[in-house]
Amino acid sequence: MKQQFEIPVGAQHISLLEPLHFKLTTENETIVDADANLYYVHRGIENACVTKFKYRQVPLVVGRVCGLCSVSHGTAAAQVIEKLTKVEIPLRAKYLRMLVIELDRIHSHLLCLAHVAENSGFEALFMQTMRDREYSMELLESVCGNRVQYDYSIVGGVNRDLRPDVAADIKTKLALLKPRVQALHEVFETNWSLSLKNKGVGAISKELAMKLNAVGPLARAAGVPIDVRNETEDLLPWKELGFEMILDTAGDVYARNMVRIKELYVAFRIIDNILNGLPEGDIANISKALPEGEAIVRVEAPRGELMHYARGNKTNVLERLKIKAPTFSNVGAMVEIFKGNQYASAPAIIASYDPCLSCTAR
């Protein structure tokens, strides 16, 4: 009686930005089994970082792991190398790093929301969200000099200072962006058809999220309190800048949207605090020390906990660099969540994971 369809999503599919492949086994479009093939984008960056590039270049190379959270990767790599070389960076650099990470989070979350809207079949909302996202893109460009790949964090600090006029620009543009985000919030919260597509769809329980070790908005939407920004004051002082963890309980696509939107508000607050309390001083502390020993660093990228592990052996080249991307932790949960949902929701669910396969596969 049960008749099964196998539906390929990817490698090339309109609802995907990246090559990944889900083989969804469906019965009447209800997904009963999912199979994932994720390593299309495996390039061998870890290997290249320990053979081709000197340790100072590593943050820039690692930024190319992923275009969406390149600053998180770059910062994490810079931090882990700073740990190995035992360099203390200036407070201003820390603040600037956080500024860019938060701006990046705004653009990434807005992109994800837009993508969820698009994949739910809500084209107008996609357009609206993408239009609003351009503010954050412009800000990132004025701060870092590029729209996507920033190369902002270097070993020892950051490579560009924040000019006062740019700081003022950030303030004015954020003031414009905030009401727009509120408008988006309202649409995402109240639109009837979107709630049909999002509420109760792709849900994961807190227990399952913990069992599968999910991270990021995916876990926080299910109520798992995991946010690295809570824990790493020694490297980046999030807490004193007004960080607050956003949790939801439902764990469905809708809850993930809500978590992301609320995190935008937190990001706005943090940016305001950074701009108000930006300490004067150097932006980098370049030292000639060579990396030695092993260290791990964790940074909260837009998609969740990012971990870099590095080993140095007192040469110009690292001995080992291991990158654990947020999506990598979510793979188990991603495959699991599909089961029992409609295929019609699958693109929206994929988008709501905000998967970053180029991070995962490296």
């Binding site: 930005l17 495996h42 390039r43 190379v61 993408m130 893109m137 729209r147 996507v148 790949q149």
Partner: protein, 177 residues
């Protein structure tokens, strides 16, 4: 004279393929669709379907796992078609060149018409690249374009029907010791 050729320029439908890039260029392509850049004013539609597309936008260097998919998708596009490489990696391999799982630029596999530089390439650059591609598209003939690697010959059957089903060749694996 009424020429169908000139309408190629006015209705280019694009297909986007990520061959293993970092998403940077991909989100810029997405940004192109959005209100600020709005490429639909040139009549472009992101079809997501190789069979109805004229322009193949490729981002990222070709990895070992995507190369066959790339060739497959390229072969399903009906001629005339143009290929635009978005970003340095797609053009040459970029920073990833020489990494062990990278084959290099897209032009190792399929004939490329336009290279758009940049890491990541900006939406304005993408639009520029596509506009250049349109000029090339207008000049192209309807002859079958073969890929450079992984190419079989199309089979012409006795009554003139061409079987392109097996044009993307299976990869023959060398056993490395």
């Amino acid at each position: 004279m009424f020429e169908l050729k000139k309408f190629r320029k006015k209705s280019p439908w694009i297909l986007h393929f990520n061959a293993g890039g970092c998403n940077g260029c991909d989100i810029e392509i997405l940004a192109c669709l959005a209100p600020k850049y709005d490429i639909e004013r040139f009549g472009m539609i992101n079809t997501g379907n190789p069979k109805q597309s004229d322009i193949l936008l490729i981002t990222g260097p070709v990895t070992k796992r995507t190369r066959e998919r790339l060739v497959e998708v390229y072969n399903q596009m009906p001629e005339p078609k143009v290929v635009v490489c978005c970003g340095s990696c797609a053009s040459t391999g970029g920073i990833f060149r020489g990494m062990y799982n990278i084959e290099g630029g897209v032009d190792q596999f399929i004939p490329v018409d336009v290279y758009v530089a940049g890491c990541a390439c900006r939406p304005e650059q993408i639009i520029d690249g596509v506009v250049v591609a349109l000029g090339i598209l207008e000049e192209k003939t309807k002859e079958i374009e073969k890929t450079i690697k992984l190419a079989n010959k199309p089979v012409v059957e006795e009554d003139g029907q061409v079987n392109r089903r097996n044009m993307p060749a299976e990869l023959t694996y060398e056993t490395t010791v």
